[in-house]
Amino acid sequence: MIEFDHVHKRFGGHVVIDDLSLRIGSGEFFVLVGPSGSGKSTLLRTVNRLVPIDAGQVRIDGEDVATRDVEILRRGIGYAIQSVGLFPHRTVAENIATVPRLLHWPEHEIRARTTELLALLRLDEPGMEARYPHTLSGGQQQRVGVARALAARPRIVLMDEPFGALDPLTRESLQASLKAIQRDTGTTILFVTHDMDEAFGLGDRVGLMLDGGLVQVGSPLELLHAPADDRVRDFVGGARARLRELAIRTVGDNMRRGEHADGDPVDAAASLQDALAAMLAQGRDRLPVQAHDERVGAIVLADLVSRRA
């Protein structure tokens, strides 16, 4: 659990974080989203004290981070950044093992954990562990960066626009990996991005930050359906918000159960956006839905357009 309690931060005369309070639950995937300069990265960096705060408190599991030894605090928190920051003189395996080494894990445990992480992040092609960062693609480098952040099984991971510099395909693949790992391990993740789609795709809850303050905090659907004000409405996409919503909601929750339709079926776990794309591709306004290779119902275009879905 991470709590921000009336946090203030200014750089010179410029207020970066203005009396901000927020509570992030254990095992939650929380995404801070906002334009550049809104203070979201600064807020993230107050958790591992890369940025000292001027007033207020940041607590982890009820304990003020300012009272902890700063190096021990940081070793207990995973940290990944957009520029990755792999150590160029160290191999992939050595990079991943950074924090376990700092924590003096026994060597065989470090080796086992490294192998496990390479598989988890789909870096398990032969010889990968002995390669140097400059021989990797951007996507592979960030996979190593994420593996390094997760290496010592931290209960909290901070990620500062980790996928911002990647191409869309690589980004989606890494997002899927991260989401799956987070679901399996129950890690608390605080994730910063300026990309609304990424925020809505990953976050259990999303906090929209503007000018050093949180404008609205809620689930992606709450932000879409009930924007707190016009600024939120603009940021979540105005008229295009409905398109975003289609990407969040699943076919299974919005189909007509038991009904029949012709055509190639869509999966119940797919998003409504995928279903719409399938309808456009097949030239049909209703498609069958399947779950576990069984027809379970139909999805209908009219339901997507009317607000019923």
Binding site: N48, L50, V70, E71, I72, L73, R74, R75, G76, Y79, I81, S83, V84, G85, L86, F87, P88, H89, T98, V99, L102, G145, R148, L158
Partner: protein, 382 residues
């Protein structure tokens, strides 16, 4: 144009021509050797091989005009032959002259020899450029080996430089070891003071201008003046604290010499330390801090390995500079190879001057090579 012309002027041939002109001029100088009645008098000029040498240099010019690979190889071979042949020729001549001469007679190397030999060495250096490192190293090692083998068979024993060395073996060995100790002590102290100072300058960023300015100003003080200026304060220190005096601390000697050399060495060490720290990528440093490395761990396991090649390049410069400057330290009684130079000047014995000077040059080159080797090793690993 139908066919390539047989004679093609190579754009890279300019250094060859310049060196050939120098070589030809040297071949025409009257003094390849000088025959002197004793070690203090200057002798009469002798140039028995003017035609051979001139012919060799003309062959170099001809080769430079022919654009075929064989000609290029011939150029390398000619240059190599010059590097090895000049001293051999001089050695053989000296032996001939001495067979019917008084025992005090000295055969000194003349301007024609030095100029021609230098031109041959520069030619070899120029022609080896762009070749594989193993070839370059192999060629030089072969030349060195040939000269060493020849010297072991006594081929150079007739030359006055060798005679001077044979007469002064013990003081020469002592001076060499003093010189090395002065340089080593300076280097160690410069790293011990300069590296932390550089780290501090890099971290605060504030003192940079003032400190580097002060150190740069020191560089402009002539070494002789700095040595002289230090005599009074060091003498006073030794007087005020007799314990220091008992340790050999005084207005003259090694202590003020090392201090002065240290002052000259600090600027490059500080500069290269800062440059080395700047060479570490910001994101790697940010990640290291975020993952919980302490300052010492960051320095030891990230900044040092990544900044090391730059720092080493700086140490190389400092080492070569210190070996050169340490020659002047002989003037304030610190010993070293400079003593031969100044004693030789005092006595008018040019062989002694040359002995000291050549030893300093060879030492500087050897240290430079050593650091280049170290640098190549670290770069290879990275």
């Amino acid at each position: 144009m139908k066919a390539r012309p047989a004679l093609l002027i190579d754009a890279t041939a300019l250094p060859v021509w310049v060196l050939s002109v120098i070589g030809l001029a040297a071949a025409c100088l009257p003094a390849f050797l000088r025959i002197a009645p004793n070690r203090l008098l200057s002798g009469e000029a002798l140039n028995p091989h003017a035609w051979l040498l001139a012919g060799g240099w003309l062959a170099v010019v001809v080769c430079s005009f022919v654009a075929v690979p064989a000609a290029r190889r011939a150029l390398v071979a000619l240059a190599w032959a010059g590097v090895v042949g000049f001293p051999l020729l001089a050695g053989l001549d000296a032996r001939d002259v001495l067979t019917h001469a008084s025992p005090f007679t000295r055969v000194q190397l003349g301007a024609g020899f030095w100029l021609g030999w230098l031109a041959a060495a520069l030619l070899l250096l120029d022609r080896l450029r762009g070749m594989r490192r193993a070839w370059q190293a192999g060629t030089w090692i072969a030349a060195l080996a040939a000269i060493v083998v020849a010297s072991m068979t006594g081929a150079f024993d007739g030359l006055s430089l060798v005679r001077e060395w044979q007469a002064q073996r013990a003081p020469f060995a002592a001076a060499l070891s003093e010189h090395l100790r002065l340089a080593a002590a300076t280097l160690v102290l410069a790293l011990a003071c300069g590296a932390p100072l550089g780290w501090w300058v890099w971290r605060t960023g504030r003192a940079n201008g003032a400190l580097v300015g002060a150190l740069a100003f020191l560089q402009t003080v002539p070494s002789l003046a700095l040595f002289a200026l230090l005599i009074a304060p060091f003498a006073w220190l030794a007087h005020a604290w007799p314990a220091l005096g008992a340790l050999g601390f005084g207005g003259t000697g090694a202590a003020p010499a090392i201090f002065a050399l240290l002052l000259y060495a600090l600027l490059p060490v500080v500069r290269y330390t800062v440059a080395g720290l700047d060479a570490v990528p910001d994101d790697a440093r940010e990640a290291a801090r975020g993952l919980g490395m302490s300052r010492a761990q960051l320095l030891w396991s990230v900044q040092l390995p990544l900044g090391w090649p730059v720092l080493l390049a700086g140490v190389r410069i400092v080492a070569v500079q210190t070996i050169g400057l340490a020659a002047v330290a002989a003037l304030i009684g610190a010993g070293g190879l400079g003593r031969f130079v100044f004693l030789g000047i005092g006595q008018g014995a040019m062989d002694m001057v040359l002995l000291g000077t050549l030893a300093i040059i060879v030492l500087a080159l050897a240290v430079d090579l050593l650091f280049q080797g170290l640098l190549a090793l670290t770069e290879h690993r990275a």
